[in-house]
């Protein structure tokens, strides 16, 4: 028999899962707040650089625990029907776009980003796969460069003659 969401235990509910994630975040925030260096004499003042973070840590942990104990819904989390592979691939693609935009230049990086994105989303028309990314990249670059005066390296440094 297929296990239902409720049989997996209450911790898998939307609210509790979110509360657990935020509890971890708030705890990490609290730990890092202890690394904030105070200036000499600051310890005795009512307000210093660590005051707000300390208060927020306490508030965040309290609220997370309250939500963990009193969730507003016991509905199972909706993380199952999600195409996680696609999410990871798009995350990687966006990150790579960020890394490539300077060395490859705007036009090449943008064309590659769009071409791979279209392909990942099952676009199979070769005409669309090639023409739209290039047209968007060149058009966008032209608007920036020619109309708004924003300079973007269009091509890789070795092709633009920049060392």
């Amino acid at each position: 028999m297929k296990p239902t969401a409720s049989k997996l235990g209450p911790l898998t509910s939307k609210d509790r899962l979110g509360a657990l994630l935020l509890l971890a975040f708030c705890s990490a925030y609290g730990l890092l707040s202890q690394d904030i260096v105070l200036l000499p004499g600051n310890q005795n003042t009512a307000f210093h650089a660590r005051t707000m973070p300390t208060f927020l840590t306490a508030l965040g942990i309290t609220l997370s625990l309250l939500l963990l104990l009193f969730p507003t819904t016991h509905a199972a989390h909706g993380l199952r029907g999600i195409n996680w592979l696609k999410l990871v691939l798009f995350m990687l693609l966006m990150s790579l776009f960020g890394l490539a935009i300077r060395p490859l230049g705007f036009i090449l990086a943008t064309t590659a980003f769009l071409l791979i994105s279209f392909a990942l989303l099952a676009e199979r028309s070769y005409l669309r796969l090639l023409v739209i990314p290039l047209a968007v990249a060149v058009g966008f670059w032209a608007i920036m460069e020619l109309l708004l005066g924003v300079y973007l390296h269009p091509l890789p440094a070795f092709m633009s003659g920049i060392n």
Partner: protein, 499 residues
């Protein structure tokens, strides 16, 4: 006031600003029409362009994008029963049944007309209310501002919907935490920078807004494809809109409802946190209650009053929410929080002094609301059948384009590739919290107000010689804090009573 209005008219009616107003209305409508992309995403997507303009033009364009997106959201509500934003949910109650009866054109015309009337009436009330409130707020001190900001955050959480208060408060806290990243405002002590030089200036507001709204919305559509079914339906619906003409009887039926809903919407919009969603539901509910029995039966089955009232109310509330932003510098909603961030980026500190120091900006935004609403009516209504065709762009083309414009929009402001990596991380977190149904708007509000809350609290403590007694010694501060406690406790009491 007349002088101010003339200054505003002069600024808003300049060819340069009119052009950006048109662009804003059009872009807002197109973006707002795409299911899932609401006013916040629309404004976020337009910030990189607005940041290249002068403050008046930039704000006029963003305000135009705001009500353009609300109008665009109504279109997807009416055509395919897929409200892009919560504030247009009530519109779909009667708008969608009308569309199914082959009266989509008429429903769109009524929605546009009611939005126009709501916007105009509210802008008129704004002219009367804003200067008065700005004058009163000149007597506010840091302690009062601190209390007001806490009230603003609490109100947003309290209006988060049934059972959502704890989640909204938690997300607000996360926003406040993110606001502490970077150098401490007065002493320059680095906080939470993890030794990275790129974090010394803190997290960029644009980056956070783009990642949590535009980017995560597009990613949601990619990872959860059932959300896109609306696009296919809209494609069919947009091809057959029917007649757009409204009969005289229908007009007579709508007019009083629009008047009532506009005033109600404006008043609700004034309250921090309430906003357009609450206004539209309240207007729909109150019209249903006061309707004659025969009219009441038509609610939910294509009633023109049921469609016009929430439309007028949500636009009026959108206008009303500008009052606390422009006069107190405190945003009443996620959208106005983004506008506040943009104002600060321009080096303009909203608040009572904006009315005195920057009358051109203050009044041109108000005047642009009138002009913008007229533009929406005259330009968008005839264009709706054509604008709706943007939805015929296949999602496998449209979604990567949204991703690209979000990423490059942020990159073009700082030219720092680290920002793109940060966006990816925030977008991933936003997708997860969206899937878990945690609200993201309170986080943005917390992030925007975080720095100001800390600064005002620090100043208040300085004035009161490191004593927290200002919390109970100053009557105005105490009064606002009492309201805050009430706002937080009321939903809990209601929940206990319901159980």
């Amino acid at each position: 006031m007349l002088e101010g209005l003339l200054i505003g008219l002069g600024t808003a009616l300049s060819l340069h600003n009119m052009m950006f107003l048109l662009v804003g209305c059009f872009a807002g409508t197109v973006i707002g029409m795409l299911p899932g992309l609401g006013p916040m995403s629309a404004i976020a997507l337009m910030i990189p362009i607005a940041s290249t303009l002068d403050p008046a033009a930039g704000l006029i364009m963003m305000a135009a994008v705001y009500y353009g997106a609300i109008f665009g959201g109504s279109t997807s509500s009416i055509l395919i029963n897929a409200p892009g934003v919560a504030s247009t949910v009530a519109t779909s109650f009667d708008g969608y049944p009308m569309a199914r009866q082959g009266k989509a054109g008429k429903a769109l015309a009524i929605a546009a007309g009611a939005s126009f009337a709501g916007g105009i009436i509210a802008a008129l009330l704004l002219v009367l209310a804003a200067p008065a409130l700005a004058t009163v707020s000149l007597s506010f001190q840091s302690t009062d501002y601190f209390a007001l900001m806490v009230l603003g955050l609490a109100s947003v959480a309290a209006f988060a919907g049934s059972g959502g208060i704890l989640k909204a408060l938690l997300m607000t806290t996360v926003g406040l935490m993110l606001a502490t990243v970077g150098s401490d405002q007065t002493q320059g002590i680095p906080r939470f920078t993890l030794g990275m030089i790129d974090l010394v200036d803190g997290i960029s507001f644009l980056l956070l807004v783009m990642a949590t709204f535009a980017l995560s919305e597009a990613l949601m559509a990619i990872v959860k494809p059932d959300r896109e079914t609306g696009l296919a339906q809209e494609r069919k619906a947009s091809q057959n809109l029917g007649s757009m003409s409204v009969t005289r009887d229908e007009l007579a039926d709508i007019a009083p409802a629009v008047g009532r809903a506009s005033i109600l919407g404006f008043l609700v919009g004034l309250l921090p946190g309430a906003g357009a969603t609450i206004a539209s539901f309240l207007a729909y509910g109150s019209e249903q209650r006061i309707a004659r029995p025969d009219q009441r039966r038509r609610f939910g089955h294509g009633s023109v009053r049921g469609l016009a009232a929430p439309e007028a109310a949500n636009n009026a509330a959108a206008t009303g929410s500008f009052v606390p932003l422009l006069t107190l510098g405190i945003p009443g909603s996620g959208t106005t929080a983004i506008m506040l961030g943009a104002l600060i980026a321009y080096g303009i500190q909203p608040g009572p002094m904006l009315y005195i120091n920057e009358p051109g900006v203050f009044w041109s935004v108000i005047v642009s609301m009138w002009i913008g609403n007229a533009v929406l009516l005259m330009l968008n209504l005839p264009l709706i059948p054509y604008v709706a065709r943007v939805l015929t762009i296949p999602s496998q083309i449209l979604l990567p384009l949204i991703l690209l414009f979000s990423l490059t929009g942020v990159y073009l402001v700082t030219f720092n590739t680290f920002d793109i990596q940060m966006m990816v991380i925030f977008a991933a977190a936003a997708v997860i919290f969206r899937l878990l149904e945690f609200p993201l708007a309170p986080m943005i509000l917390g992030f925007i107000l975080g720095g100001m809350i800390e600064e005002n609290l620090r100043r208040a403590l300085l004035i009161y010689d490191n004593s927290w007694s200002f919390l109970w010694e100053r009557p105005l501060t105490l009064g606002i804090l009492c309201i805050t406690i009430f706002v937080l406790i009321a939903p809990l009491l209601r929940a206990i009573r319901t159980r």
